[in-house]
């Protein structure tokens, strides 16, 4: 889910950057408050690369297959590093494969990164519900929600931007209906993304719990 160059007018592209810059600044400020930001840098960088590569895994969904976005999972694992990580990842996708583009980098980063930050906070809610649901169930429920909503939010922003910016001759109400409709059509994908996030978090809990325990 990337918006390529040329589709959006310059004003929207600039607005994208205008939102992405302060969000980046805020993330960096939170990162600099960590005990040792220099120690986190190599971890965040390698995980960014790993997420970037992992999103190329084909998930067979008969009769075809899909790629996952993984922005919700990225939020769960990277915390405040999620936004810079997405910025860097999208930059590489734009210049290496032409997924997205340089003018739309800001827009794309907002579209994927803000849902990732939301997902990161959703995942933290597992601590609130730990007593009620039990440690394991709480983690699983919130991992699923983080993954599903990370994708869902990104889809809503994507369709909103594309439909409102493509000259269509439809009125505002039809456009709105189209945004909701197309986003709802993403429900099955949200289920898959959420399930995948849940399975992956279960795997990490078993093999390398510190990956989801660390707070960045």
């Amino acid at each position: 889910m990337h918006i390529p160059d040329g589709i959006l007018p310059a004003s929207v592209c600039i607005a994208g950057y205008a939102i992405a810059v302060p969000v980046t600044w805020y993330s960096l400020r939170q990162i600099n408050r960590l005990k040792d930001p220099t120690e986190e840098l190599p971890k965040a960088s390698l995980l960014t690369a790993a997420f970037f590569i992992a999103s190329s895994i084909n998930i067979p969904v008969p009769p075809s297959s899909v790629h996952l976005v993984l922005n919700g999972l990225l939020g769960c694992v990277l915390g405040y590093f999620a936004f810079p990580a997405i910025l860097v990842g999208l930059f590489f996708q734009a210049i290496m494969f032409g997924h997205g583009g340089l003018t739309t980098l800001g827009v794309d980063a907002v579209m994927m990164g803000i849902p990732a930050l939301v997902a990161s906070h959703i995942f933290q809610f597992r601590h609130v519900f730990r007593q009620k649901l039990g440690e394991k169930l709480a983690t699983n429920v919130f991992a699923f929600l983080a993954g599903a909503l990370g994708l869902g939010l990104a889809a809503v922003i994507f369709f909103f931007l594309v439909i409102t910016n493509i000259p269509s001759g439809f009125d505002a109400q039809t456009e709105r209906a189209a945004v909701y409709g197309l986003s709802l059509a993403h429900l099955p994908l949200m289920l898959i993304e959420g399930t995948f996030t849940l399975l992956l978090v279960m795997f990490l809990q078993r093999v390398k719990p510190e990956l989801i325990e660390r707070r960045g």
């Binding site: 795997f203 078993r206 093999v207 390398k208």
Partner: protein
């Protein structure tokens, strides 16, 4: 059909059963690169243990990937136990052990990892269980079967990776640098394991001493060709031949080495 014809057919079949691998004029190149393998031909009898030696880039790894069908040859044919390999085929009778066990282990427990292959073969659960237990016993992993493979030592990971391939009951096993990351104890254990194993073996290794201890035949490759094929002591003992192809005669084949160092 005359009796002679029938007889020759039978002996043909017998011969095919005897041959684990028939490789005919195999050629391969990557796009935009000169040939990596040139007209490799090789016959391997069932039960043979063949060492494949040569310096890095001589084509060993490519050769193995062609045999197991991961890569598609540009020309030539590979026949395994009488049936030609078609690229994309799933042929559980050929097992490949990758150089780095980490490339091959991804499940959350040793047991699950070993069960992965048999499950993909569509075997019934009892059969899967049986094979997993057998492979785990063969590799001596009983005590580790519930641990995540990611937490094991290098030597243990190697054995898990081997168990994962063995559980598919391969008849030809390809080992790519099996001792590269092992310490002497784990290497010794591996050598003993290989000496006992029943499959037809192809082992590529820089560790020439391992090949001397395990194999009964050795192939020397250089620049995508087989430049020597024969008894390990004779091929590896030929200092001039080894050095011409970027290798060294193994120490154990040098008659009086102490004087070199003394």
């Amino acid at each position: 059909m005359s009796s002679t014809e029938r007889l020759s057919q039978t002996s043909n079949t017998l011969q095919q059963i005897q041959l684990a691998l028939e490789i005919k004029k195999l050629c391969f190149c990557y796009p935009d690169e000169p040939n990596v393998l040139h007209e490799i031909s090789l016959l391997v009898k069932a039960g043979e243990r063949i060492g494949v030696i040569g310096h890095n880039g001589c084509g060993k790894t490519t050769f193995f990937r062609l045999i197991c069908g991961v890569l598609k040859p540009n020309d030539g044919e590979i026949v395994v136990f009488g049936e030609p390999i078609l690229p994309g085929d799933f042929r559980p009778e050929i097992g490949l052990l990758f150089q780095n066990p980490d490339d091959q282990l991804f499940s959350a427990s040793v047991r699950e990892d070993v069960a992965f292959g048999p499950q993909n073969m569509g075997l019934p659960p009892e059969e899967v269980d049986l094979r997993v237990q057998e492979a785990i016993a063969l590799t001596g992993l009983q005590t580790l079967s519930h641990r995540p493979p990611h937490h094991l030592s290098g030597g243990e990971k190697q054995m898990v990776a081997i168990a994962g391939v063995l559980a598919m009951r391969p008849r030809v096993m390809l080992y790519d640098e099996p001792s590269a990351n092992l310490d002497l104890r784990a290497r010794r254990r591996l050598i003993q394991f290989l000496q006992r194993s029943q499959e037809t073996l192809l082992i590529s290794a820089h560790d020439l001493e391992l090949i001397l201890e395990v194999c009964d035949r050795v192939i020397l490759m250089d620049e995508g060709r087989i430049v020597a094929d024969g008894n390990p002591h004779q091929v590896m003992g030929n200092q001039e031949l080894m050095e011409r192809h970027g290798l060294e005669k193994p120490h154990s084949l040098m008659p009086h080495v102490d004087s070199h160092h003394g």
